[in-house]
């Protein structure tokens, strides 16, 4: 297979990488850029644990060829907190509401929740559950996550953000 030089901007930093066609974006992020927050859980698009944000859209990095992400802006869980370590309101809300247990689904869930709130600042419970339906969790039973998203929505509105 032919190696291709691609550019990926991840969490604000641009990387020049030689990739082969069948390299998956998930594994480039985890193994080559050492951004291990994004997880492999099922590999076939059923669970949402590998969710990243690419040019503003939520994508499953386990189903993406790294080469097709050439030139795009990618945000992973590691890119949410500010450079000074200031947590994103969604991250804080997950902490406040104990909306995680083992933590394995948490990065994907936080990425998805953030995308939801960027699009809909005041989602109803039904909207939250519908939007997050592609993210599986086996520990929490989901309720605490719904409450966290509602909490984050509230604090983001309060900040006028």
């Amino acid at each position: 297979m032919k190696k291709e030089l691609i550019n990926l901007t991840v969490n604000g930093e641009t990387y020049e990488l030689l990739v082969v066609p069948n390299e998956l974006l998930l594994n480039v992020l985890r193994d080559r850029l050492h951004l291990t927050g994004t997880k492999y859980v099922c590999g076939i698009g059923e669970c949402g644990a590998c969710t990243v944000s690419i040019d503003g859209a939520l994508m499953l990095s386990c189903l993406m060829l790294a080469a097709t992400a050439d030139g795009s802006e990618i945000t992973t869980i590691e890119g949410l907190a500010g450079v000074d370590g200031q947590l994103d309101p969604v991250q804080e809300a997950f902490l406040d509401h104990g909306a995680y247990q083992c933590g394995y689904c948490t990065p994907g869930l936080i990425m998805s929740s953030k995308a939801l709130l960027q699009e809909n600042a005041n989602p109803t419970e039904a909207e939250i559950r519908e939007f997050l339906r592609g993210n599986l969790c086996r520990c929490t039973g989901y309720s605490s996550v719904v409450r966290a998203v509602q909490g984050a929505a509230g604090s983001m509105r309060a900040e006028g953000g």
Partner: protein, 796 residues
């Protein structure tokens, strides 16, 4: 109850919270070592076969290191060391001598990259001799059926396996025949529950690094670093001081890593052969093929008097254990224990048979037999209540095993006396919250959408402690020291599944030592620097693990106060410690003597500056009780009688966990358990083609669905509450919750379905297909119960 505590009972950000919400938390798959190679495992495509030849030459020509049966130690073992050695059924080798289930690992390769390892794996040539598979347990037990095993070990003794029976267990108390003779009514029913895949999000994995001195360092997915260590030492004949198992955060387990999973010794063997670090991760489809919950067939017969007193019980169960015996013997005991510990039954007989089949080996899954037996018993209790026209709650309150009663918990050798009991409060409050008195009469509703309310109660033991040690090893250890600035290190080898048990331990330490919670650290640990903890299972994390921390913290407190007393010129007994958030220190003071105080940090610093010692203690604890963590669930469901789809509307979960140390995490357990129970009740079943042994889902979660955000009730319709109890034998009065949170859930949902439809399902999961079929049958035969429903014989 927790108002008098400064830390216990308060919710706070978890200690692993920042790492988990920023993606910084490291799990096994996130770790990389220099020179590390990647491994892939070759797994059987056949349910039952012999390997006639295996040719790894092409793989080796690619530069891969290969492992086959010839390369591994010929030590026979059981992966799970929770039971005492002479009660272990040992049928495993590191790589098997024969293939006994689709997915059984029988060879492995390691190569510089996963891609190369994958190529090498596919280049291995195998010749199989196919053997007839036995898929159905009842067929497997027939004389003449293909046998999975010839001889295995029980303890140190070689035994013959007959008719694929892995182990039987018979327990009798009193005289069942006399008991049934006394009964006014006898009910008998058969229940079935499906195979359920744990679906923990992190697929199991391991990294092994061989050390220069012949030792190994291991980063595994495990619920017990010490048992993993002991087993590896036994298999590979490496002394334990040269084996270091690192505690790594796990992405959920629900029981799937109580045992040292097969990839761990395989990876050790590969690492020793390759003489470099090896990483072995299971893909999801592989992980699916390595373990599942015990599916069950339970035949239950109960005798009851007109006034609702139970007189006798007879339970027969077939446990289909799949291809390996991980803990069938304790499972049968636990299933019995959970049955007989729900309600008083003076005469009982339990007959359990564990059967080998050519399917994925089962292992414990949250509840370990309790969800199965709760389902049967709680459906039966509802049924009895209806027949006798007694309120279901009254029937339960009349018969349940509670305060002052002896109960078995996890089996006949694990008995203790109940010392805290919140059952009445759980039932009364739960009934109130759901509107129990206003529920409809079963099967009286018409229209397309019908609702029903159901309840079930139950418990799980907090650990497996008993006055005398029995078949189950159960103790924990802890090491605590005061740092020179007044902060505290707590080193516990207890694993945290993710539910927050370790945070409870930190809170117990903070409470005991009087220091601020955020000044207590949970140390990263491994087996070389910690003392033994058997395993995080059996809902023992807080009660036993926390108990050990409490014991050791008291020892540290004593030493601390002794030195503080010297420095203050006071008696240790006159001193108290309480946290001062502003100072960020624990403050040691004498009540009613203002100004006489010193901080914990000052004391520790004094000890250092004056070259004295570190204020520290290490010890172990065995609990002599396994108190029931009671629980009750009240749920409302709605059935679309045209599509058979059932959805949960409201759910009330009440827990008696004694003192609730982590309130928000305890709620998390209840909510998580509810949804897992929902999955068990309505969605999850791992079925196999009865002829080929092929799993119908093929191990893909595309067809192994678990509940999503769409399946739960609205959050406002979910209520969790806690009984006001105090367990005198638990740290600050605490008991457990983890498995209690799931045990009666499926039963509650099934009882709710009965309330809605007047149809009692005795098989899980209850699918829309089954609902429509049952409703169609009901239309045809309105008066006669169908043959599969029940056998009701008035006695006498």
């Amino acid at each position: 109850m927790t108002e008098k505590f400064h830390t216990v009972g308060r919710s706070a950000w978890r200690k692993d919270g920042l790492a988990k919400v920023t993606g910084a938390e490291k799990y096994t798959s996130d770790i990389s070592l220099p020179r590390m190679w990647h491994a892939r495992v070759l797994r059987s495509p056949h349910p039952h076969a012999r390997v006639l030849s295996i040719d790894t030459s092409a793989a080796e020509a690619m530069g891969a290191v290969c492992l086959t049966f010839d390369d591994v130690p010929k030590v026979r073992y059981n992966e799970r060391l929770v039971s005492v050695p002479d009660k272990l059924y040992k049928d495993r080798y590191v790589l098997p001598d024969k293939l006994r289930h689709i997915g059984e690992a029988f060879a492995a390769v390691a190569a510089p990259t996963e891609e190369l390892a994958e190529k090498a794996r596919r280049a291995i040539r195998v010749e199989y001799e196919l053997l007839p598979p036995v898929i159905e347990p009842l067929a497997a037990m027939q004389p003449g059926s293909a046998q999975l095993y010839d001889k295995i070990f029980f303890g140190a003794e070689e035994i013959q396996v007959e008719n694929n029976i892995a182990c039987p267990r018979v327990i009798e108390v009193g005289d069942v025949d006399a008991g049934f003779a006394e009964a006014d009514f006898i009910l008998e029913q058969e229940f079935r529950t499906g195979g359920v895949y744990h679906a923990q999000l992190e697929t199991k994995g391991v990294i092994v690094e061989p050390e220069a001195d012949g030792g190994i360092t291991v980063w595994p997915t495990t619920q017990s670093i010490h048992n993993t260590r002991i087993l590896l030492g036994e298999i590979f004949d490496i002394p334990l001081h040269k084996i270091n198992i690192k505690k790594v955060t796990i992405g959920g387990t629900f029981g799937s890593s109580i045992q040292t999973n097969s990839i761990i010794p395989i990876c050790v063997a590969l690492a020793l052969k390759a003489r470099r670090p090896i990483k072995l991760l299971q893909t999801r489809e592989e992980d699916w093929h390595t373990h599942s919950r015990y599916p069950s067939i339970i035949r239950l017969k109960i005798g009851v008097k007109k006034d609702g007193t139970l007189t006798a019980g007879h339970m027969q169960t077939i446990a289909d254990i799949g291809a390996h015996n991980t803990q069938a013997f304790p499972f049968l005991g636990v299933l019995a224990g959970f049955w007989v510990s729900l309600y008083k039954m003076p005469n009982l007989k339990y007959e359990g048979t564990a059967v080998y089949t050519n399917k994925v080996p089962v292992c414990a899954m949250r509840g370990f037999g309790a969800p199965q037996s709760h389902f049967a018993v709680e459906a039966m209790m509802d049924h009895i209540a209806e027949k006798l026209e007694i309120d279901p709650l009254e029937l339960r309150l009349k018969n349940y095993i509670g305060l002052g009663d002896t109960f078995w918990g996890q089996g006949p050798t694990v008995r203790s006396v109940v010392k805290s009991d919140g059952v009445k409060e759980l039932l009364e409050r739960g009934a109130d919250l759901i509107g129990w008195r206003d529920r409809p009469k079963p099967g009286t509703q018409s229209g397309r959408f019908v609702r029903g309310i159901g309840m079930a109660r139950g418990f799980h033991t907090s650990g497996t402690g008993a006055p005398r040690p029995g078949e189950v090893i159960d103790y924990s250890s802890a090491f605590i020291k005061i740092n020179e600035d007044g902060s505290v290190d707590v080193a516990s080898s207890l694993m945290d599944h993710g539910g927050g048990s370790l945070d409870a331990l930190a809170k117990i330490a903070a409470e005991t030592l009087g220091v601020p919670y955020d000044k207590v650290g949970l140390s990263p640990v491994d087996t070389r620097t910690t003392a033994y903890d058997v395993c995080t299972h059996a809902t023992r994390g807080v009660y036993v693990g926390g108990g050990a921390v409490h014991k050791v913290a008291l020892q540290v407190r004593e030493k601390l106060l002794k030195l503080a007393a010297q420095l203050l010129g006071a008696e240790p007994a006159a001193l108290s410690i309480k946290p001062d958030e502003e100072l960020g220190q624990g403050v040691i003071y004498a009540e009613s003597v203002p100004g006489l105080s010193i901080t914990v940090g000052e004391v520790a610093s004094y000890a250092r500056v004056n070259s004295m010692y570190t204020i520290q203690a290490a010890d172990s604890l065995r609990q002599v009780n396994g108190p029931p963590a009671y629980v009750a669930h009240f749920v409302e469901i709605e059935v679309d009688t045209e599509t058979g789809v059932i959805r949960p509307i409201r759910a009330v979960a009440g827990s008696d966990a004694g003192t609730v140390i982590n309130p928000d995490m305890a709620v998390g357990q209840l909510e998580g358990g509810l949804i897992q129970g929902l999955g068990f009740a309505f969605y999850e079943d791992s079925r196999y083609d009865p002829d080929t042994g092929q799993p119908l889902s093929r191990g893909l979660i595309t067809d192994g669905k678990i509940p999503t955000f769409g399946e739960l009730p609205n959050v406002d319709n979910m209520v969790s509450f806690f009984a006001h109890t105090y367990e005198p034998t638990g740290p600050f009065g605490a008991k457990g919750i983890g498995e209690a949170a799931i045990n009666p859930v499926a039963a509650a949902f099934a009882n709710a379905v009965y309330n809605a439809l007047g149809v009692r399902f005795t098989e899980l999961p209850i699918t829309p297909e089954m609902v429509l079929a049952a409703l169609a049958r009901k239309k045809v035969t309105t008066d006669e119960p169908s043959a599969s429903e029940e056998l009701l014989t008035p006695a006498g």
